[in-house]
């Protein structure tokens, strides 16, 4: 039924036209400009801009910390979602609402407070630094703040799926003689897997692009704690627009790939869910 409604409900041309215009002006044209700018470099120049040792270290750091943080989020998010769906405990509603704080809290605030919590005199640093755990101006600092930023993604994708899981399936497993652990591993986990993967991908993508909080906590030391977006800002500050565009193109391609992947995953998990 290609256009059952098109002829009946009004406003198709206006709404679609405006949508496309807005997207073009705000997204498509600027993104094209970015690719054009980068294309004005010769291949060698482009390569020189995006593949310096410093840039490679930054990519590795960005991907590495995002990956570790997203993996941590899978474990923590699964736990939080499980507790929220399955158990009743005091202040549960506040607990539930606070899960979304990383969505609502400006990243600069997160960066600010995470940078001071883990220094030697900070609330948590005073216990951790003597143990040799450097939770600020280090790679660990980046992982910590990215874990904070990404926490809601896994929780909020797993939570509804877990809530929709039929009790009968677990009861059936129990009747067939499975232990609780076996039921979890063989019955519950497989049905949560698509949601977990989607949540992981979302947290990972968010980590790749994150800037505000990381610049506060990392110290931005080249080769050590400098993430890829910082390279762009650094290039811009030196008025190297083409180089900035080149690095942006690398990040864009990476994140577009992520977007396609997330889309596929969402479709996969939806099909699986049904």
């Amino acid at each position: 039924m290609i256009d059952v409604n098109r002829r009946v409900l009004p406003g198709f041309r206006l709404s679609l036209g405006y949508t496309l215009l807005y997207l073009s002006v705000l997204v498509l044209i600027p993104l094209t400009a970015c690719f054009l700018k980068a294309a004005s470099l010769s291949f060698d120049e482009f390569w020189a801009a995006v593949w310096t040792p410093r840039a490679r270290a930054a990519y590795a750091l960005t991907f590495g910390t995002s990956f570790v943080a997203a993996s941590l989020n899978v474990g923590l998010g699964l736990l939080v979602a499980w507790v929220l769906v399955r158990y009743h405990f005091p202040f549960k509603r506040i607990f539930d609402a606070l899960v979304d704080l990383p969505f609502a809290l400006p990243t600069a605030v997160a960066g600010l407070v995470y940078s001071s919590l883990y220094v030697k005199s900070g609330w948590l640093g005073r216990y951790l630094v003597p143990l040799g755990i450097q939770g600020s101006y280090s790679r660990l600092a980046i992982v910590l703040v990215l874990t904070f930023i990404g926490l809601p993604f896994v929780v909020r994708t797993v939570q509804p799926v877990l809530a929709d899981l039929e009790a009968e399936v677990e009861e059936a497993a129990a009747c067939l003689g499975a232990t609780r652990a076996q039921t979890f591993r063989r019955v519950i986990l497989p049905s949560l897997l698509p949601a977990i993967v989607t949540g992981f991908a979302l947290a990972f993508a968010r980590g790749l692009g994150e800037y505000g909080s990381v610049v506060f906590v990392s110290g931005n030391m080249p080769f050590k704690t400098e993430i890829a977006p910082v390279l762009i800002v650094a290039a811009l500050e030196e008025f190297h627009y083409k180089q900035a565009a080149a690095i942006a193109v690398v990040l864009l391609v990476a994140s577009l790939t992520m977007l396609v992947l997330i889309n596929r995953l969402e479709r996969w998990s939806k099909r699986d869910g049904n």
């Binding site: 709404s15 923590l76 609402a97």
Partner: protein, 682 residues
């Protein structure tokens, strides 16, 4: 959105007992510890640091610092503008995507997610590359003295880019879940685009829209990376709140930094509060919507009184256009050579139907036969690929649904959920700008007609299914339509209410005489209510006529089959005789020698039972089951020799006479047989 609102609470409680106490509390404690370290401690730290030097110092570092104050004001300017732009975009995108199908739709949906995947720094950079001094438009902008980058417009652009998915992402699934039924109903009642949006769509999506705005705003106020790149950090001019937090931090002004951070944190907490409240609101609404959509009888609603046909004196009858125009006995609606395809599927294949003026016609057929498509085409809710629709000689094919002045009753009522019964009925009049007094009078008149007077102030959700259906009918009749169209009007009701409403609809039609067409797959319903019946199959009209004609003289095997409750015998025909098991029927219409397969149909009351065979044309059968309840005794038999099950209806007297028991072997005789060779009938 698969939110299981009915079962959720109960199952959670039941499952919770499965895990031992120790496991439960260990897990809860660990989760609480994780949340404390990741979320609560940092939040507490912000407020602690901000207020550590006392409220006076706190106040001074916020308002006393001119640059901080201007950063607050700048954010309060930038964020609302970006949100406003994204709300307009979100509404347009949701309308296009949730209400229409078009090529590239999936791609468009994916594009809306782009900002989630693009690093904010890149988002800022792309605007610098276009509008910056060295950018593509830079020289032109400088010539005309327009500043975008390092100025407020750039901040708004960057913020809008980063936050534009939020409203659209919220509205698209919501509008898809709500469906287009109510909006389609509004079109059929004559509403214009703006009226539909303001009176139907907006009230339905208001909570979701607010939710999207809240998220969008939170992100807009807090955006850092994109804004950082385009701002240029001109103190007091282009520093937003988050940028100011960073600058103060770099200047080692920790107190000022934390003070501003605490303000932002408070905003985040307010966001969470509103968000949680809205989630409860929408969940509550979804739940009541779910309850509404459950089929129910006439029991649950307010004051369900039995429907008694009421004689309305002619002078009190609501006038219809049809009645007011001089009595034409001609054709009310004619459908001429209408064809409609959906892709490869032919929904209607050269269909011709005539509805006599003032008649009540039933479109009868199995699902997928095209009857609803035909009804929607008559209403103007669908457009035929070829052919035409005439209302009393007047070509209406190219008139929109809004201008056709039809009353359409939707299968699931499509009542406007946020309006009272009164306002639902009044809708078609309000969009036509009737004066209030007349609206009042007309609505009360109609509520009396459908016997719902006194329920005008109820909301549709408080009514039973049957009552809702009558509201839908009153709403369709309000604007004095030329024709009344009903799509499976009783489909969603239970058997008893259905029966009652059927009689009532017949009575109502006898009173108001508006040319009416209704769709049904229930032959009993069609025969009981309609003046004329059109039987459809696979997009074609199989037969049209009065109920009596169709029942007594089915045009072909399909009609016979579809009318149902019939015994089918397979056999062969040759030389003017049809052989069906051990029956033999004369068939002079087929004198050919070539033998062909035939199907013979015998209705259950057209078969007789006897203990002994009577000549050649009888069939030996065993009694399998007897159901003596009801006016006729239903007997199920099996003709073992041919493996044919047979159903027979006997009169009570004959049954008593025969003294039938299960297991008896008897002989069956047909009183009347209809034999079809292909489309060829005796």
């Amino acid at each position: 959105m698969a939110i299981d609102v009915t079962a959720g609470a109960a199952t959670t409680r039941r499952r919770a007992q499965e895990d031992p106490w120790l496991v439960r509390w260990t897990l809860v404690t660990i989760a609480a510890a994780v949340m404390a370290v990741l979320v609560v401690v940092p939040l507490a730290n912000v407020f602690y640091e901000a207020l550590a030097r006392g409220p006076q110092a706190y106040w001074n570092s916020l308002v006393g610092d001119a640059d901080t104050l201007s950063a607050i004001l700048l954010t309060l300017r930038v964020a609302p503008l970006a949100v406003l732009a994204n709300v307009v975009f979100g509404l347009a995108a949701a309308w296009a995507i949730a209400r229409f199908r078009f090529p590239g739709r999936t791609l468009l949906i994916a594009m809306i997610d782009l900002p989630f995947a693009v690093s904010p720094v890149v988002a800022g950079l792309i605007f610098v590359l276009i509008f910056g001094l060295q950018g593509y438009l830079g020289p032109w902008l400088r010539e005309h003295d327009i500043k975008i980058i390092f100025a407020t417009p750039g901040l708004i652009l960057a913020t809008a880019f980063v936050t534009f998915p939020f409203v659209a992402r919220e509205l698209i699934p919501l509008m898809e879940a709500i469906g287009a039924e109510e909006e389609t109903a509004a079109v059929s009642l004559g509403a214009r685009a703006w009226q539909i949006f303001r009176r139907i769509t907006l009230p339905n999506i208001k909570w979701g829209l607010l939710y999207g705005i809240i998220l969008c705003n939170a992100r807009a106020m807090g955006e850092f990376g994109a804004v950082y790149v385009v701002s240029g950090h001109i103190g007091g001019q282009t520093d937003t709140m988050p940028l100011r937090v960073e600058k103060l931090f770099q200047e080692y002004n920790t107190a000022g930094s934390y003070a501003l951070a605490s303000l932002l944190s408070s905003l985040a907490l307010v966001t969470l509060l509103v968000k949680t409240a809205l989630e409860w609101q929408t969940r509550h609404e979804l739940r009541s919507r779910l309850r509404e959509s459950l089929p129910d009888g006439d029991g649950g609603g307010a004051a369900a009184q039995p429907l008694r046909p009421r004689v309305v004196p002619p002078e009190h009858r609501p006038a219809t256009t049809a009645e007011r125009s001089e009595e034409t006995t001609g054709v009310g609606i004619s459908v001429k050579n209408v064809t409609k395809r959906f892709g490869d599927f032919v929904a209607l294949d050269d269909v011709n139907v005539e509805v006599p003026h003032g008649a009540l016609l039933a479109l009868l057929g199995p699902s997928g036969s095209g009857k609803t498509t035909l009804l929607r085409i008559i209403a103007g809710l669908d457009v035929p690929d070829s052919g035409s629709i005439h209302y009393q000689e007047e070509d209406a094919t190219h008139r929109s649904a809004r201008d056709r002045n039809v009353g359409f009753v939707f299968q699931h009522y499509a009542l406007f959920r946020h309006m009272s019964v009164f306002e639902n009925v009044a809708f078609g009049l309000r969009v036509r700008r009737w004066p209030n007094a007349k609206v009042e009078e007309r609505v009360h008149e109609l509520l009396r007609l459908v016997q719902l007077d006194g329920l005008g102030r109820q909301s549709p959700s408080q009514l039973s299914g049957g009552q809702r259906q009558r509201v839908a009918l009153a709403r369709a009749l309000a604007a004095e339509p030329k024709v009344l169209l009903l799509d499976e009007p009783f489909g969603a009701l239970d058997a008893k209410v259905r029966q009652e409403l059927r009689h009532w609809l017949r009575k109502l039609h006898d009173e108001i005489h508006v040319t009416s067409v209704f769709v049904t797959h229930d032959q009993e319903e069609a025969f009981e209510v309609a003046d004329r019946v059109v039987v459809m199959n696979r997009g074609r009209v199989e037969q049209a006529g009065t109920p009596q004609e169709v029942f007594e003289h089915p045009a072909n095997a399909f009609v016979m089959d579809f009318l149902g409750n019939v015994n089918v015998f397979h056999g062969r025909v040759e030389g003017g005789r049809a052989l069906l098991g051990s029956f033999e029927v004369a068939m002079p219409e087929y004198p050919h020698d070539e033998s062909r397969p035939v199907k013979a149909y015998v209705r259950p009351h057209e078969l007789e039972i006897d203990r002994l065979p009577r000549g050649a044309s009888s069939l030996k059968a065993d009694v399998l089951r007897i159901n003596p309840a009801g006016s006729a005794v239903k007997v199920e038999l099996l003709a073992k020799d041919f493996g044919v099950p047979i159903n027979i209806e006997l009169g009570q007297e004959r049954y008593a006479e025969l003294q039938l028991k299960t297991g008896d072997t008897v002989f069956v005789f047909p009183k009347r047989v209809r034999v079809f060779v292909q489309d060829f009938q005796i």
